[in-house]
Amino acid sequence: MNLAAVPLDSTRGFLSPSGVEIVFVLVGLGVLGAALLTVTTKQLVHAALWLVVALGGLAIEYLLLTAEFIAWVQVLIYVGAVVVLVLFGLMLTRAPIGASPDADSGNRWVALGVALAAAATLVTLVVDAFRSTWIDLGTVAGSTKANGVTLFRYWVLPFEALSVLLLAALVGAIVLSRREKKEP
């Protein structure tokens, strides 16, 4: 990885945050709130729309870290395509205005446990991996060119493996959804 990361020096610290860091934390809190509302709201369509807020907030976080390309891809794929797909599915099947009391599957505590475990794992991992590195926000580290070079020079094998996986999923979806013609 060619992240513009520099080792921790004495001029940086958690107690004197810069403006970008303050905004980063505030947006992060907003994303967390929207995510909580996504899973706790009683109205199905509201959950999907809060998901838009959470995913859009994540795009802002990417922008603050100068990863412009990733931010727009986040908006394009997640907000523009995945949530539209979710809303489409909801509207086709069941999307009453007002609360959906039957939307609660009763797995609330199990889900909470899984979510907390996943969050703990990820936080531990990220803190351990990037403990003493700071991204220098003065130089743009996440430009389209930098992403392309990193992806196709260092990570091309995982990239291709992922594309094969997605292709397999696509073919599988077509096979599953295809109806055989019944002989009369």
Partner: protein
């Protein structure tokens, strides 16, 4: 201080373009449609050939009562027009009008930015369709979503072809790398992009989601007054954005004779020629049926855009 002032001037300029040009396109549509159908169109408002008709319409819309249906989801119902309109304002920021610095803000991934925010605009139609508590509106919203998902793919593939040709996804970079022979080279991609853009805007012949003879006015059935006017404005702002983007990607934007001084004029001429084409198509073609719409996207546009992508790749490898 100058950078702040500079940014402020740019924001105001983009806002002015956003407020004026869609109205110009709307007025042109009134007049062009009328003359193509052997009518005169608006003739009285403002005196000269009804030039102030849309201003008068705006005043009329502002006076109307803002009704929210009793069964509707109030907040989402009221939020939907803003979600439909604002993305086009944001998209305009990144579209270059002339050579050099004549644009709102040069973005490193400008092409992705414009396409991404345009995709968000459709959420407004979906929210409107669902929150209206009306079967026709819901049908309109579902049709909007289905149409968007079918036409987003060829649009992205056609745009990717230009990005491949230029070797960059920055709109200014694409224009900087433009040569005249790109027009014939990318012509198929241009066709795919423009047609998908029409479909994304729900313009005829792709206006299934607002088909008035079937589902009244689709997702916008329950809207009145200013909020309805905002949806109409977003449609015309969308025509502006799609025309400008097609001009930038496939027709060379500000390139033309004496581009250094008159670049903005070429860009405007190309944009408005495409907007005229949008209006012309509306008057000419009947509405597609839902199944024809889907078949056209999946069996015509996507293969065409993939072929264009392959052609771009081959030519790019040969000439480099």
């Amino acid at each position: 201080m100058t950078t702040t002032l500079d940014a402020l001037v740019r924001c105001i300029a983009v806002l002015l373009v956003f407020l004026v040009f869609p109205l110009v396109i709307g007025q042109t549509e009134h007049k062009v449609m009328a003359h193509m159908q052997g009518r005169l169109g608006p003739m009285y408002a403002g005196g000269f050939h009804g030039w102030a008709q849309l201003v008068a319409d705006g005043v009329k819309f502002a006076q109307k009562e803002d009704v929210v249906p009793a069964g509707a989801d109030r907040k989402i119902f009221q939020l939907a027009p803003a979600v439909a309109l604002l993305p086009y304002l944001l998209a305009l920021v990144a579209i270059p009008l002339g050579p050099g610095d004549l644009l709102g803000q040069s973005l490193d991934a400008g092409l992705f930015f414009v396409l991404a925010v345009m995709g968000v605009g459709v959420l407004g139609s979906l929210m409107a369709g669902w929150a209206s508590a009306n079967k026709f509106s819901l049908l309109g919203g579902i049709r909007t979503a289905a149409q968007l998902m079918a036409y987003e793919l060829p649009m992205l593939l056609a745009a990717a072809s230009v990005a491949m040709a230029a070797g960059t996804v920055s709109l200014t970079g694409i224009l900087g790398a433009f040569h005249w022979w790109w027009v014939p080279w990318q012509i198929v991609g241009g066709f795919v992009f423009f047609v998908s853009g029409l479909a994304e805007l729900q313009r005829p012949p792709f206006d299934m989601p607002v088909a008035d003879s079937e589902i009244i006015f689709g997702a916008y059935t329950e809207y009145t007054g200013l909020r309805f006017a905002l949806f109409l404005l977003s449609e015309y702002a969308g025509i502006l954005v799609v025309s400008a983007l097609t001009a930038v990607l496939f027709l060379g934007g500000w390139h033309g004779p004496m581009a250094d001084g008159l670049g903005w004029l070429w860009m405007l001429l190309k944009t408005f020629a495409l907007a005229f084409l949008v209006i012309w198509i509306r008057v000419t073609y009947p509405r597609l049926r839902e199944d024809q719409l889907m078949r056209f996207a999946w069996t015509v546009l996507i293969p065409l855009s993939l072929a264009q992508l392959a052609l771009t790749g081959i030519v790019k490898v040969v000439i480099s």
